[in-house]
């Protein structure tokens, strides 16, 4: 059982980390923890959690069909784990969706507000109904342990056939309709993946995946619990999966040929590499492996071939869900670590639930027993710590909770709290105005600026004595410091005082008491700046400096200019004098080439198609 305990510890670590990320997700929103954006609103969570999760659950309907419809009694032993896997897969999908939906509390809307034209509507309803069916199919397993539920169990076992039929119907419906979702985006999905028969391709691959997933899951748990692998019973599944995979390959290549897109198979690039990697892992290599009798009849071979195929089909879903989309504009989406953590956490949680069910209920013919749990066994001390934590149930409780809190605390520490749900205004440092008699004021150098007739305004305001009307504060030993020295950001408030610089040994080298002579050491009780900097505010300055928090550049410029302009406009009867165009006349490139139409960010803003179709 050591393998199980080790695996469980790792899974609890992952769940702990994911819990911390989940807390951030639901308190700070999607923007805080994902790399998703308006051009890429669907990412890893849709590709892996939802589409991959649904695909991985396909073993449920394949196995119930094989055993209860086609009466392949040999496979009876793997039906229960397959249904359990499917059930947990769908629960994982639902949980993953809650993370991915912007307003998760509206998830019930599709039940009331119908939109029958949307494939997502069909997917949502099918997932909901199939999850119900799976719950009813699985319920007899835990019900076996409680005598009070015997009656319910009998009814469910009797009504199994209609449930199985409903399950198969619902499952096939929405395995394919997940493909239909992408029919709407022919200009977004690369032609190697986009196809009008995407629903069919999804269905065929889901059938193949279901067989491989059951094989993979059975061998993995057999290794984990040191059980005898069911190699004999599973061999025909591998044989069948081979034919399904060959059918899938043939359909997909024929579809490419009919649509005349075969040339992309040999057009070098990211998409060609991705396609061939996906096809090899998902279909070609597993089909070859399953064709070799030596592989098909051994447990290791079955495990490897099935694992490869499972990985490949999930990769296919992730590709269709995001990786195979054409890059538009200059946005490249790569999942953030927090997104990966949530996905891994959902899978880890489902795995823990699987292990719990297997150990607690009769999913297999016999429940796995741990010799250490025997109450008559003498305690064995841990060789390292010379301690005995108790029987496995108690020891597990202590160790897993320890792993969980460590991972959760680490996650919380890594996720710095954000000031608000949105990233707010990005910092935009200000560049100084250039020029002499006429200053070109363009703080963020975007080419939209104001030609400011400095010398003319000086003359109008009264010559040299008028400096202080605008230059209301100077840097130490400076005269008429530029606006940009303190108003350092276009829109954000900057700190004109810089407390930490004054206190640091590398900067001002001031001890606390030099500015804060009394307790408590707050801004209110501090010495005024002018106590040291005698030349800070020039005599006659009209703009008061109170708190040394300089407003954004744009705001300060506007307040300074517009107040005078409004007064003058009234006095002189020229209303246009206070309008935007008086100052914001023209756009000049940084080189003054005279070309006023070429706006660099206008070119950047257009989403150019990456390839012509």
């Amino acid at each position: 059982m050591n393998r199980v305990y080790r695996l469980k510890f790792i899974l609890w670590l992952v769940v702990g980390l994911a819990s911390a990320v989940a807390a951030a997700r639901f308190t700070q929103g999607l923007g805080a923890i994902t790399n998703l954006s308006d051009p890429t609103p669907w990412g890893l969570w849709v590709g892996f959690d939802v589409m991959g999760g649904v695909a991985l659950a396909s073993g449920g309907f394949i196995m119930t069909a094989a055993v209860y419809i086609f009466r392949l009694e040999r496979l009876h032993g793997v039906v229960r784990p397959a249904v359990l896997t499917a059930f947990l897969g769908y629960v994982a999908v639902a949980v993953g969706l809650l993370f991915d939906l912007g307003l998760p509390w509206n998830i019930w809307h599709m039940i009331v507000f119908w939109n029958p034209h949307s494939p997502l509507f069909e997917v949502g309803w099918c997932v909901m109904l199939y999850l119900t069916v799976l719950t009813l199919e699985l319920f007899p397993v835990p019900a076996q342990e409680f005598s009070a539920l015997a009656k319910v169990r009998r009814i469910l076992v009797k009504g199994r056939l209609p449930l199985v039929v409903a399950g198969i119907g619902l499952s096939t419906l929405h395995q394919s309709s997940l493909g239909s979702l992408f029919l709407i985006m022919p200009y977004r999905l690369h032609p190697l993946w986009y196809s009008p028969i995407l629903p069919l391709l999804f269905l065929i691959s889901a059938i193949g995946l279901g067989m491989m997933m059951v094989t993979f899951e059975s061998h993995s748990t057999a290794w984990l619990y040191r059980r005898k692998p069911e190699t004999e019973a599973l061999a025909p599944l591998g044989g069948a999966a081979r034919w399904v995979l060959l059918l899938y390959m043939a359909t997909r290549l024929a579809d490419l040929a009919i649509r005349g897109q075969l040339r992309y198979l040999v057009t070098p690039g990211w998409h060609m590499a991705l396609f061939w990697l996906e096809m090899s892992v998902m279909a070609i290599v597993p089909a070859i492996l399953f064709s070799l009798p030596r592989v098909r009849r051994t447990s290791g071979g079955q495990w490897a071939a099935a694992g490869l195929g499972v990985f490949g089909v999930v990769m296919n879903r992730i590709d269709v869900g995001g990786l195979a989309h054409l890059s538009r504009g200059n946005h490249i989406y790569l999942p953030a670590w927090t997104e990966v953590a949530i996905s891994a956490g959902v899978v880890a949680g489902a795995t823990l639930a699987f292990l719990f069910m297997v150990e607690r209920f009769r999913v297999w013919e016999q429940r796995p027993a741990d010799p250490l749990a025997d109450p008559h066994k003498l305690p064995e001390f841990d060789r390292v710590g010379m301690t005995w934590l108790g029987v496995p149930a108690i020891a597990g409780r202590m160790v897993y909770s320890l792993g969980f809190i460590f991972a959760a605390a680490l996650g919380l520490a890594l996720l710095a709290p954000q000031p608000a749900a949105s990233r707010g205004v990005d910092p935009q440092p200000v560049h100084r105005a250039r020029g002499g008699a006429i200053l070109w004021i363009d703080g963020n150098l975007d080419g939209f600026g104001v030609a400011f007739p400095h010398d003319r305004i000086v003359k109008r305001l009264g010559g040299d004595t008028s400096c202080v009307q605008c230059h209301h504060m100077n840097l130490p030993r400076d005269r008429a410091s530029g606006c940009y020295e303190c108003h350092r950001d276009m829109y954000l408030t900057s700190d004109a005082f810089q407390h930490d610089w004054h206190a640091s040994p590398e900067g001002g080298r001031l001890a606390c008491v030099q500015c804060h002579p009394s307790q408590p050491r707050s801004a209110a009780g501090a010495k005024p700046c002018t106590g040291c900097h005698k030349d800070l505010t020039p005599a006659g300055a009209t703009i008061p400096v109170k708190h040394y928090r300089a407003p954004g550049y744009v705001q300060s410029m506007h307040v300074l200019c517009i107040n005078c302009h409004v007064q003058l406009a009234k006095q002189e009867g020229k209303p246009d004098f206070a309008r935007c165009v008086t100052c914001h006349k023209e756009r000049r490139g940084l080189t003054d080439s005279g070309d006023t139409t070429a706006r660099p960010d206008a070119v950047r803003g257009i989403l150019l198609p990456a390839m012509t179709r």
Binding site: A20, I394, R397, M398, S401, L402, I405, F406, A408, A409, L410, L412, A413, L414, A416, P417, D500, A503, S504, P505, R509, L510, A511, C512, V513, Q519, P520, R521
Partner: protein, 254 residues
């Protein structure tokens, strides 16, 4: 050094604080689950809940116990706890940090009482160290962590007091601050996994003993008599070599 200070009060503080909160929650939950399991497994379900409650409250308000074996030590310990809780939680500078970080805060102590509490904690802590080192019985019961904890707990108090009062140059101030922050981080990181977890487990300790062990009054003396230590002081009993592991097993089998 500025970078180290920022790390200590940023990510490391968040890690330490979260681990402290989650870790304490964990031990509380594990303790409650343990009590529940012991209760379920008991052959009789008779638990003297009233006596447990009375004992627990009696230990929470230790005035009743002050006149026990070592009254000076008990009073010092009580004063130490008062300073230990009052200053970190209610110092004006700390409250201000909380307001900046989480947006809300609570009333703070004025500067002068906070100073007195700090000095009280330092003095009482020093007294406790002496009481442990110079008392034979206490020494016999002490483990390594019992000697490490008081100085570690006092480090942030001493450095914090010096930072707040001495006219230091910026470099010394930063060094003091570094010790202050990292000592506090270390304390928070280790609280849930050491004996300091009694800050949340204290209300359960009486119940654990009563439910899980069901000792009758005077059981301790009977155990000591059975082991042949009746009437001996603790340091004598402790210095006697424990029975070898093999003997123990035999005793168990018998």
């Amino acid at each position: 050094m500025q970078a180290w200070i920022e790390f200590g009060r940023g990510p490391l503080f968040r890690l330490a604080f979260c681990l402290m909160v989650l870790g304490l929650l964990r031990v509380v939950v594990l303790t409650i689950v343990g009590i529940a399991e012991a209760y379920r497994r008991n052959s009789d379900r008779i638990v003297p809940w009233k006596a447990i409650a009375r004992q627990t409250l009696g230990w929470l308000v230790p005035v009743r116990r002050l006149l026990g074996g070592r009254p000076v030590y008990s009073v010092t310990s009580f004063l130490f706890h008062v300073g230990l809780l009052a200053v970190p939680l209610f110092l004006a500078a700390h409250v201000r940090l909380w307001r900046g970080a989480v947006g809300f805060a609570w009333p703070a102590l004025p500067q002068r009482p906070a100073d007195y509490f700090t000095l009280l904690a330092i003095a009482a802590g020093a007294g406790l160290i002496c009481g442990r080192v110079f008392h034979r019985g206490a020494r016999a019961l002490s483990r390594l962590q019992d000697y490490i904890w008081p100085p570690l707990l006092l480090a942030p108090f001493v450095t914090g007091y010096v930072c707040a009062h001495a006219a230091l140059g910026p470099k010394v101030y930063q060094e003091m601050m570094l010790v202050h922050i990292y000592a506090a981080d270390l304390i928070m990181l280790t609280i849930p996994f050491t004996k300091i977890a009694h800050c949340v487990l204290a209300p359960f300790s009486q119940a654990v003993t009563a439910v899980a062990w069901k000792f009758v009054p005077g059981a301790g003396q009977e155990v000591a008599a059975t082991l042949g230590y009746a009437g001996l002081p603790i340091w004598v009993a402790n210095s006697r070599s424990a029975p070898a592991a093999g003997d123990k097993k035999e005793a168990l089998v018998k």
